[in-house]
Subunit: 377 residues, 2 copies
């Protein structure tokens, strides 16, 4: 009889009204009935991406959308700048390398955001840079990078700015058109409150022009094919039909709450989570924390993995541990998508109980109280 | 108040017991709970593929799995043989060309199966052929190719045999290990009775060996990454969780009915559909018809598209028209996945009513009667 709390940065909880769409009988995708839904969805995505661009829907994980962006914007042997400092920043570089691009890495320590001056310097040193690959929210560290400042640099150069907003979209401010971001990619299982299975690419005009010159091999991830099909409210290959239909419902929920209020909610959730962590005596890991998740250091002497298992298996509360080099060193508590203040308070209650159970020092209620303070403002 | 009949070769109808899995709250994929499900699914797929190979699960349409196979088995500049004669056979060639492979096309007329002698000749003329790409059931024409005979040729050569069984799996006999097929790809929205969104690649030993030499660029579709993750009951990128969980249910249904009986059921459905079509005075399009769908020629003077719309919008019966060069020339009635005899009889009833309504010559009951004859045997 335990209730389930999914406080992970993807998948995120799917509201019942969206879940119920997934269980409906299938309709065929090459019918007027489906095309109408896909048209509504493709239009609705624009307001979430804050863009007038076409937002293309792919059937893949977010990584597929990243690959689609890489092969669109650069050729083999082209120089590309990659902002690293986390698992997902590194992924940009791994994909670019597979396609023979020359990766100019800007390495920032895990837990820190990039300074725009570093990007400026790299652009100056490499004036032929084809693209800059950045991350709105680095899910592995809980860091947000200053995309607005980076875009101000790239929009004045020939370098296209490609942003991984897979976890960030809908939680972190990102004004694609206003800031001048060329490509934004995202996924369904994050702020869009859907299960995983769809990814999205919002493609700016400079990119379509660039694609006349990029010959990087691509088939399933050829954005030109998706753009062509979009004119018929279609995609080139059979889409994940139930997810697209559920997305319509998700977009209606988003429209109802309003993008501005959604961003404010995430700010508040993040602030409360940071306060709660400090109240509990935990140290924050990220120096420029995002609104998607909060990374906290696992205290010396505490078995982090045991706590994660206990919370999940005994209390129904799923949080994430660290990835790659941060494995065993941090916990990541996400507050992304369909999350309300009480979910965060539950997380701290469960953490406090876990600390007590395993004999780690804790003042019961201290995390909850500190988070409540923020929510009460 | 109309009931819905999905007689298309993907998506196919999803049984209620599978649909209900899709509407359940999400669990995280990097948990023991999910890994156990994925282990059961990965094991269960082997019996459907009739193989001892690892069957890898990708989050993509079937085309993604095709691309994963192409980049695995050949390098740019390698010669590859592609059996065409339909939209999906052609797709193998399109993907191979994107990656710079030299495509040796065996063109068979649409509606006909390839003769194994043609493949034998091509292999003789091109002894360095890296791979042969074939199609178990060519969904655009309703043709089945003789994969067993082709495998008997390729298994004696260095050429790997890669088979698109996207629509064919679970409807058409395909004994991967016994026949010696190196790669089989499939998708979820076909014989597996799921919505679209997952694809599968069953990879034989000769392929893993080949991959030591193939340097074709690949990231999301790098089968080596999926193989590595499979050891941890995991995939490298966030999977379409609800589909994988629903797949467990689908595999249980398949196990209950038994693969042999499922293949027999599809044989019978196909035979009855062919008989019904002839009873209605329609001509079959395919000379080597498959058990997945039946392609029939649209009679002279009949507006095929109008009939498709009427059946779908007024009667709830969705069948497919022709694709590419067969557009407006054929109808495709699928009998794939969760289809029972009555579904086929409904289709002919609806077709007869449609013919009558639009004033085309028809003897009411003639198609139904002929199909019933087969089902009564």
């Amino acid at each position: 009889m335990i209730r389930s709390y999914l406080l992970t940065p993807g998948p995120t909880p799917v509201p019942d009204v969206i879940l119920s769409e997934l269980g409906k009988p299938l309709i065929h995708h090459r019918t007027p009935q489906y095309r109408q839904i896909f048209r509504e969805v493709s239009e609705g995505l624009k307001s979430v991406f804050q863009t007038r661009n076409d937002v293309l829907t792919l059937t893949s994980s977010g990584t597929g959308a990243m690959e689609a962006a890489v092969v669109a914007v650069a050729n083999s042997q082209d120089e590309v700048i990659v902002i690293r400092g986390g698992k997902f920043g590194e992924r940009w570089g791994e994909i670019a390398q597979v396609y023979g691009m020359k990766v100019i890495a800007i390495d920032v320590p895990w837990g820190e955001g990039v300074s725009p001056e570093q990007v400026q310097l790299a652009l100056k040193q490499h004036p032929k840079t084809a693209a800059v690959f950045a991350t709105l929210c680095e899910t592995s560290t809980g860091v947000t990078h200053d995309i607005k400042a980076i875009a101000a640099l790239t929009r004045q150069s020939q370098a296209l700015l490609v942003v991984d907003a897979i976890s960030g979209l809908g939680a972190e401010e990102l004004r694609q058109d206003e800031w001048g971001v060329d490509v934004v990619v995202s996924g369904s299982q994050k702020g869009l409150m859907l299960p995983p299975g769809l990814s999205f690419v919002s493609v700016g005009e400079r990119v379509w022009k660039r694609m006349e010159q990029t010959k990087t091999p691509r088939f399933y991830f050829d954005l030109l094919a998706y753009k062509k099909s979009l004119a018929d409210d279609d995609v080139p290959y059979t889409p994940a039909i139930p997810l697209v239909i559920a997305l319509r419902q998700a977009l209606r929920l988003i429209q109802e709450e309003g993008m501005e209020k959604i961003l404010q909610r995430h700010q508040k959730l993040a602030a409360a989570t940071r306060a709660g962590a400090k109240g509990l005596g935990l140290e924050l890991f990220s120096k420029t924390p995002c609104n998607v998740l909060t990374a906290v250091k696992i205290p010396q002497g505490v078995n982090g993995e045991k706590i994660v298992s206990y919370l999940r298996d005994e209390k129904g509360v799923t949080i994430a541990g660290g990835q790659a080099e941060m494995k065993g060193k941090i916990w990541r508590i996400a507050h992304l998508g369909a999350i309300a203040p009480l979910d965060i308070l539950v997380a701290f209650s469960a953490l406090e109980l876990a600390f007590k159970k395993f004999g780690y020092p804790v003042k019961l209620g201290s995390g909850v109280a500190a988070a409540e303070e923020v929510f009460s403002c």
